[in-house]
C-alpha cells in the first residue's frame, strides 16, 4: 500500500511527464491550472492517465473544484 507521500510524488512525476516538464519541477501545493497553464479538458486527460497508472476510477464529482496536486493525491489515495 502506497503512503500519501508516495502517491503525491507519483502524481507529480506523471503530471510532469504528461506535460513534458522536467522531473521535479512541480510541487504538491502547485495549482495545476496556473502552473501548467492548462484548461479543464487537459486536466481531464491528465486524470485519465493517473487513473490508468493507479488502476482506479475517479468520478468527475470527486475532482470537481480540485486545482492542486496535493488534494488530487489525497482523492486518489482514498480510492487505492
Amino acid at each position: 500500500m502506497r503512503t500519501l507521500e508516495q502517491t503525491t510524488q507519483e502524481v507529480l512525476d506523471l503530471a510532469a511527464k504528461h506535460f513534458q516538464l522536467p522531473a521535479g519541477s512541480l510541487a504538491p501545493g502547485d495549482d495545476f491550472f496556473k502552473k501548467l497553464g492548462i484548461d479543464s479538458l487537459q486536466t481531464l486527460e491528465m486524470l485519465s492517465r493517473l487513473e490508468n497508472h493507479f488502476g482506479i476510477e475517479l468520478p468527475d464529482y470527486e475532482v470537481q473544484g480540485v486545482s492542486d496536486f496535493k488534494t488530487l493525491a489525497e482523492r486518489i489515495q482514498s480510492r487505492l
Binding site: 495549482d31 491550472f33 496556473k34 484548461d39 479543464s40 479538458l41 481531464l44 486527460e45 486524470l47 485519465s48 476510477e57 468520478p59 468527475d60 464529482y61 470527486e62 470537481q64 473544484g65 486545482s67
Partner: protein, 570 residues
C-alpha cells in the same frame, strides 16, 4: 414545423409528448463505457409521476420554486418535469459554483425545494452558507450510499407518492424558470423566463434543427445552461427524440459515445470544439504522404460540393472514416456559450460536419441568431431566428452598434431587480450590451462588447463585480475589477481578460508582498474567474454620492493609458 401554439406551459407540452411517444427511447445514461439505463417515454413518466405526487403531498404547489443542482443525468430531466407538472418554478443552478455561491442563489431565488446529488450535497450540507438559506425546506439527494449521513436531506429514490399527481396548469406569461446569468458576488441576475419564452424558442430552433423520434442528442453542456436546457431537454423531449447523458466527460469516453449511440446532435463550447479540431488535425497530419494527398483532395471536393448548403449524404461517403468516427449519424454540432473562431467552424464544415454557431444570451431565451447553413458562413453568427427582431442601435460609420432584440423569447425581467430590468429591457427591446453589425445578406457579425464582462472559451460569463469580493480588505487605497476590453475596446470577442485596477496608498509600492497577496486571493477564485493583470492609477476613483465607484467614468480615465504598458503581470 413544430406547432406548440395550443400549449400554455412547458409541463403541458411535455405531458402530451410523454403519451404521444410512449414507446420511443427517451433517455440513455452511461457511465464511462457502461450503459446504466435506458428509458422510454412511458418509463420516464413512471419515474416522474411518483416524484410529482410526493412533492404535491409535501404541499409544493403552483408557483413554488424548486432548485436542481446536478450534473447531467436522467434524474435532472425527470425532476425538472415533475416540478413543471406540479406547476412549480424551476431554479436550475450551476453545479460548478462553490457551495456558498449555491446557497446564496438558493436564498435569492426563495426556493423551497432542493434536488441535488449526494457528492454535491456533502459539500453543500457542510457549508456555512446553509444557515442563511432557511427557505429551503425539502432537500432530495440522489444516489446516496446506503449508510450515508444525509444531514437533513431525504433520498430522491425513496421520495415517492402513492397514486397519480394532479397536473397543475400554468399560463404562458407565468415564470417557468429562474435562470442565473450572473450574480454570485455582486448583484444577482435571476432571469425570470416564462413558459412562453421556452415554447417560442423551441418552435424557432426546431424550424432549423428539427428533433423527432430516432434523433439522439448527446448532452454535455451543463443542463442548467440555457442551451442544454433547450436542446438537451425541452426540445428533444417535446418532439420524441432521445437524450444521451454521460456521467463522465473524459474525452476518450465522449469520443466513444458518438459511434456507440449514433449521436445526431451535440452541443459544445468553443474550447471543446477547438480541442476536437486539434485532435483531428494531429491525426490528419500523421497520415502517410500518399493518403494525405488523397484525403486533402477529398476535402477539396467536399468543400466545392457543399458550398451553397450541406450535403450530408455526399460528405459521409466522401469522407467516410471521419464521419464513422462520429458515428455516421451526426448532423450538426451546435456550438455556443462563447464566441467561436471562424477557422474552427470552417475546419469542420470542410469535413462535411456543419457547426451551428449562433449568438444568444440567457436573457433573450437562448439563441437570437443561428447559422442556417444556407450557405454556411463561418465569419458570422448567422441570421435572426424566426420571431426575432434584431436592431443595431446607434451604429458607427462601419455599421457597428449595440445589438438589441425584441421577441416573445425575451425574459420577463430580473428577479427582485426592477431597476436593473428597466435598464436592460427598454420599450420591449433587450439591450444585449454586445456590439455588432449586419452584413449585406442579413448575417450578424459580432464586434466586441459594450458591457463590462468577459465570456471564456468554456462559455462562462464573468462579471467583474462577481470576483471583486475576493479582494475586499486588500491593503491598498482603492481597487476595482474591469474587463480589459471594456476599458480598451477592441473589435474582437476573443482573448478577453479581467484586470485589477489599484489606487495605492500614498508611498505604497506595487512590490513583491502586495503581488503575493493579490495572487493568494486570486487563487481562491475558480480558475476561469481569475484576474490576469494589474493596472495602477494614481488618483482617487470617481464615486457617486453613496460612494459607489462610477465604473464608466473610471474606465474613461483608464482608457487614455496604453493598455500594453498599463497591464502589469501578477
Amino acid at each position: 414545423m413544430l406547432d406548440l401554439s395550443k400549449y400554455q406551459s412547458i409541463g403541458e407540452a411535455l405531458r402530451d409528448a410523454l403519451d404521444q411517444y410512449a414507446n420511443e427511447v427517451c433517455l440513455i445514461e452511461a457511465d464511462r463505457d457502461r450503459e446504466k439505463e435506458r428509458l422510454t417515454y412511458l418509463e420516464f413518466k413512471a419515474r416522474a409521476h411518483p416524484l410529482a405526487k410526493a412533492l404535491q403531498d409535501g404541499s409544493f404547489s403552483s408557483g413554488d420554486r424548486a432548485s436542481i443542482i446536478m450534473t447531467n443525468q436522467s434524474k435532472w430531466l425527470i425532476s425538472a418535469y415533475a416540478i413543471f407538472f406540479t406547476g412549480g418554478v424551476l431554479v436550475p443552478l450551476d453545479y460548478k459554483l462553490t457551495p456558498d455561491e449555491q446557497w446564496q442563489l438558493l436564498k435569492h431565488s426563495s426556493a423551497s425545494v432542493l434536488i441535488t446529488e449526494y457528492p454535491i450535497w456533502r459539500q453543500l450540507g457542510a457549508s456555512p452558507g446553509r444557515a442563511a438559506a432557511s427557505n429551503v425546506g425539502t432537500i432530495l439527494v440522489t444516489e446516496a450510499p446506503a449508510n450515508a449521513d444525509l444531514d437533513g436531506a431525504r433520498r430522491w429514490e425513496e421520495f415517492r407518492g402513492a397514486g397519480e399527481p394532479v397536473f397543475i396548469a400554468r399560463k404562458r406569461s407565468d415564470t417557468a424558470c429562474i435562470v442565473y446569468s450572473s450574480g454570485t458576488g455582486g448583484r444577482s441576475k435571476g432571469c425570470m423566463m416564462t413558459h412562453e419564452n421556452y415554447l417560442e424558442q423551441c418552435v424557432a430552433l426546431t424550424s432549423i434543427y428539427p428533433f423527432c423520434p430516432g434523433v439522439r442528442y448527446l448532452s454535455i453542456l451543463p443542463t442548467n445552461h440555457a442551451i442544454d436546457f433547450m436542446v438537451g431537454f425541452f426540445g428533444p423531449l417535446t418532439c420524441g427524440a432521445a437524450v444521451v447523458h454521460l456521467r463522465t466527460l473524459r474525452p476518450e469516453f465522449v469520443r466513444e459515445a458518438f459511434p456507440k449511440y449514433k449521436i445526431t446532435y451535440v452541443s459544445l463550447v468553443p474550447l471543446v470544439l477547438k480541442n476536437l479540431q486539434k485532435g483531428l488535425q494531429t491525426r490528419f497530419d500523421a497520415l502517410p504522404p500518399g493518403k494525405r494527398k488523397v484525403f486533402n483532395a477529398l476535402v477539396r471536393i467536399n468543400k466545392a460540393l457543399t458550398k451553397s448548403q450541406p450535403l450530408l449524404g455526399i460528405s459521409r461517403r466522401l469522407l467516410k472514416q471521419v464521419h464513422e468516427a462520429f458515428g455516421g449519424e451526426l448532423r450538426t454540432i451546435i456550438v455556443g456559450g462563447a464566441f467561436t473562431e471562424p477557422q474552427t467552424l470552417q475546419f469542420f464544415y470542410d469535413l462535411g460536419i456543419p457547426v451551428a454557431n449562433g449568438y444568444g444570451l440567457t436573457e433573450a431565451g437562448t439563441a437570437i441568431t443561428v447559422n442556417d447553413l444556407r450557405p454556411f458562413r463561418a465569419d458570422t453568427v448567422g441570421k435572426p431566428l424566426p420571431g426575432m427582431e434584431v436592431r443595431i442601435v446607434n451604429p458607427a460609420e462601419d455599421g457597428v452598434g449595440e445589438v438589441t432584440v425584441r421577441s416573445k423569447t425575451v425574459m420577463a425581467g430580473y428577479l427582485n431587480e426592477p431597476e436593473l430590468t428597466a435598464e436592460t429591457i427598454i420599450d420591449g427591446w433587450l439591450q444585449t450590451g454586445d456590439l455588432g453589425r449586419f452584413d449585406g445578406t442579413g448575417h450578424l457579425q459580432l464586434a466586441g462588447r459594450k458591457k463590462n464582462m468577459i465570456v471564456t472559451e468554456e462559455g462562462k460569463n464573468i462579471y467583474p463585480e462577481d470576483v471583486e469580493t475576493v479582494f475586499e480588505s486588500l491593503r491598498v487605497g482603492e481597487f476595482c475589477v474591469f474587463a480589459a476590453n471594456y476599458i480598451w475596446p477592441k473589435r474582437s470577442m476573443i482573448g478577453e481578460k479581467l484586470v485589477l485596477v489599484l489606487h495605492l496608498e500614498p508611498g505604497q509600492q506595487y512590490g513583491e508582498e502586495l503581488r503575493r497577496e493579490i495572487n493568494a486571493r486570486n487563487n481562491r477564485l475558480l480558475n476561469y474567474k481569475r484576474i490576469q493583470g494589474v493596472v495602477l492609477l494614481d488618483e482617487d476613483f470617481p464615486r457617486t454620492a453613496s460612494l459607489k465607484i462610477k465604473r464608466n467614468v473610471l474606465a474613461e480615465r483608464l482608457a487614455v493609458l496604453d493598455s500594453a504598458a498599463a497591464i502589469l503581470p501578477l
